[in-house]
Symmetry: C2
Amino acid sequence: MLQVKKSISSKLLLAIGNEVIAMETMESLIRQLHEIPGKIVMLHDGEYLFHEGNPAKYFYIVRTGQIFITEYASSGRVLSLRLATRSSIIGELPLYESNPVYIFNAVAQSAAEVYAIEFPVLQAYLEKKPQLAVNLLKLISAHMRKQHSKFRDLVLYGKKGALYSTLIRLSNSYGKELDDGILISVPLTNQELANYSGTARESLNRMLSELRKAGIIEYRGHLIFIKDLDYLKEAIQCENCGREVCNIE
Amino acid sequence: MLQVKKSISSKLLLAIGNEVIAMETMESLIRQLHEIPGKIVMLHDGEYLFHEGNPAKYFYIVRTGQIFITEYASSGRVLSLRLATRSSIIGELPLYESNPVYIFNAVAQSAAEVYAIEFPVLQAYLEKKPQLAVNLLKLISAHMRKQHSKFRDLVLYGKKGALYSTLIRLSNSYGKELDDGILISVPLTNQELANYSGTARESLNRMLSELRKAGIIEYRGHLIFIKDLDYLKEAIQCENCGREVCNIE
DNA sequence: CGGGAGTTGTGATAAATGTTACAGGTAAAA
DNA sequence: TTTTACCTGTAACATTTATCACAACTCCCG
């Protein structure tokens, strides 16, 4: 009964007018957040901002550098969720919890600088400034969509789907457009990339090899260069949802 | 470098004090939402509330009945996401989008009644009533956590993880506790259950058979009866995060 | 410059999951 | 009651993904 073919038309509709969260909303939110008293935290390469299970005291906004958001499984496997960068928000989830703990790990991928606001302070501001609450609502909705689309890519297209999805997101967030393709300007090891798909390194490596043989990607130094982004997009029926949704931040 | 063993201690910490969204917050939110002018929509069994790709006009609150939230893949596969019930909120994502469309399908699993509020009306209220915005923020954060934990179960423990996760969620949302186990009071076909894990029906069937042979579950009429919920929880390292997070609503 | 630590690439094999095919069960309509 | 549509269970086989094992490479540091 629920096994219905999806028509193309609805996909197209979905592609129209989907400016999920406008750049200006985002920027205005970050500006508003910076008006809230907080402190600046400096991190060196590899330093943890927090660990999962730690009591959650602060809400963070990244100012410079990149920060991995990851989760550990007891098996020793790592699941990478985000690669936060300038203006990304970190630790938004424990908001308003009575006894909050972080559910992820945040570790600097390079030297980084973040702005830290105490949860009670943020909460007080939210209740005073509805516009701030509304903007945050928009941002979290956007996060939700990001997460959901990745989930879908994985469920419907397998690990390959998760990888392609990750590559597309990386190119939206960190891609430098050159005349013959897109260079992902963040150095990632195979293991790190595998963590984004919850894949074994070896499996990831094989998938990358295939993509290389097929001429979809190549290496430029240690960086991945995507020659045929459309191939990746078609493979997972990407709806071109735009950088605002389809990113890894 | 990121391949770190997760210590048990942090898992335990995570289990303490994680009342993510209090019942009262939830109820107060629903009460607040009902004060906003809207209309009541009646649905008969199998009727669609909306299809993915449709322009999104309304935000819904379920009053009675159950509503499947699903997504279709071009392959014909169906991905089920939620089974919304009384006080569940539907269609929250397109909030504040300039040209919103629904990204899911919502179809009544039984006769159902929902309360529909137009997005612009809701948005106006949100800006006037910060408490409402804050409550909605809490709710959406909770949704985010639900989604995330399912994603993690799937990535880290495969389809079996997705199934166990679904069973646990179903038992949290629709389980009737009997003396020797938990009866999931919603009739679901194998196909419907498979859709929640993005699994082939046959694979799901095999997994269910195994669980039955191992004495973990059994059938009571057409309903699934869980005899050993702890087995399922242990298999996916469930952190007993509580009904407020770990549900399917 | 030469080791070592970390990384990459690949084969062999195992386990998980999907696909195809079909027999039989069940419940509601005719 | 019979028919019909839908659902369940299961076997055989194909594909995907993980695991183990190991050789080769790179880059940093002593």
